[in-house]
Symmetry: C2
Subunit: 186 residues, 2 copies
């Protein structure tokens, strides 16, 4: 059985999402995901800790890139502008995958446990971005608040884009959400 | 053993929090909580579904009161002003319990599972407040965004108040957090 598997991780992710959408997240086993991807369960566990983590793969990379974009923003960028760059990086990472994101979001909305996990990931992301702003010399309390606000924009905007028809790009949807936040709060 | 227990629910809540702080949430059993409160485990389960829910008791009342404050705000109040009333109601409900809130927050921060639950409750609260704004004629997308922003303020402000020395009142801390959001986003 042992053979070289090009992008086993990617195929496992696609197989998992197919099964979660078709037959439900709760009802799907790791064995079924592995079978559909044409690999063994052992290969599954080389890539993912469990069937939940398949849905959150890449979130470390997302955090790292968004933090980097924030830290390296021009020195004269406001905190919110610096985070705007981080949102653009996120849009670049996910923007091409409307169909994937749309199906993932449906699975999340159907499973409160997954939605809680997503919220926790977003909270960690907010915290990492606040740290990035502190590196830019922003005071901790202000850094926390603006990072939380940016993540609210990200969360709401991403959900709108993923659950919508995808007519607007993710980047445009995030910019609209940010403009809306400015309007309602201003 | 069966006898009339004045405020068994309240004593169970206090006993649970004492034990969670002293010996850890994971390490505490329902039997220990009941014993410390001087009631049976059966009484515990008459009031709470499990040891996690003890920490989230009253959240339905909180949602109902915040929704009511939003819906009944003066007709000319902006969406954010209407939600400001809802925050004031929350401050009234929790403002007297700095010590309790401070210890609860410590238990939450020590247990990611509890923090996830708290985030999920806050998401439900945001959604309920968005619905309340829609009842006031606010368009759904704007209602969602301003409710999410208000809950961000509530979450950040409440945590600051509960983890801080309590020198400022909860209401003052929430007002400060809202002012800060306006500054960083404006």
């Amino acid at each position: 059985m042992a053979r070289w598997e090009p992008d086993a991780a990617g195929r496992l992710r696609a197989a998992a999402l197919d099964l979660y959408v078709d037959q439900g997240y709760e009802q799907t086993t790791v064995a079924e995901i592995a079978e559909r991807a044409g690999v063994t369960a052992r290969t599954f566990f080389r890539h993912y800790a469990d069937k939940r983590e398949v849905l959150f793969a890449g979130s470390d990379v997302l955090v790292a890139r968004m933090v980097e974009a924030t830290v390296t923003a021009p020195a004269d960028a406001t905190p919110l502008d610096a985070l705007g760059r981080a949102l653009d990086v996120a849009a670049e990472m996910f923007g091409d995958g409307h169909d994937h994101s749309s199906r993932r979001q449906r699975v999340l909305h159907d499973n409160p446990e997954l939605l809680e996990r997503e919220l926790a990931k977003m909270a960690m992301l907010a915290s990492a971005l606040a740290g990035a702003l502190e590196q830019r010399g922003v005071a901790p309390a202000a850094a926390e608040m603006v990072a939380e606000a940016a993540i609210t924009v990200f969360r709401v905007g991403f959900d709108r884009w993923a659950t919508g028809p995808g007519t607007l790009s993710l980047q445009e949807t995030l910019h609209e959400a940010l403009a809306q936040l400015r309007t309602v709060v201003g």
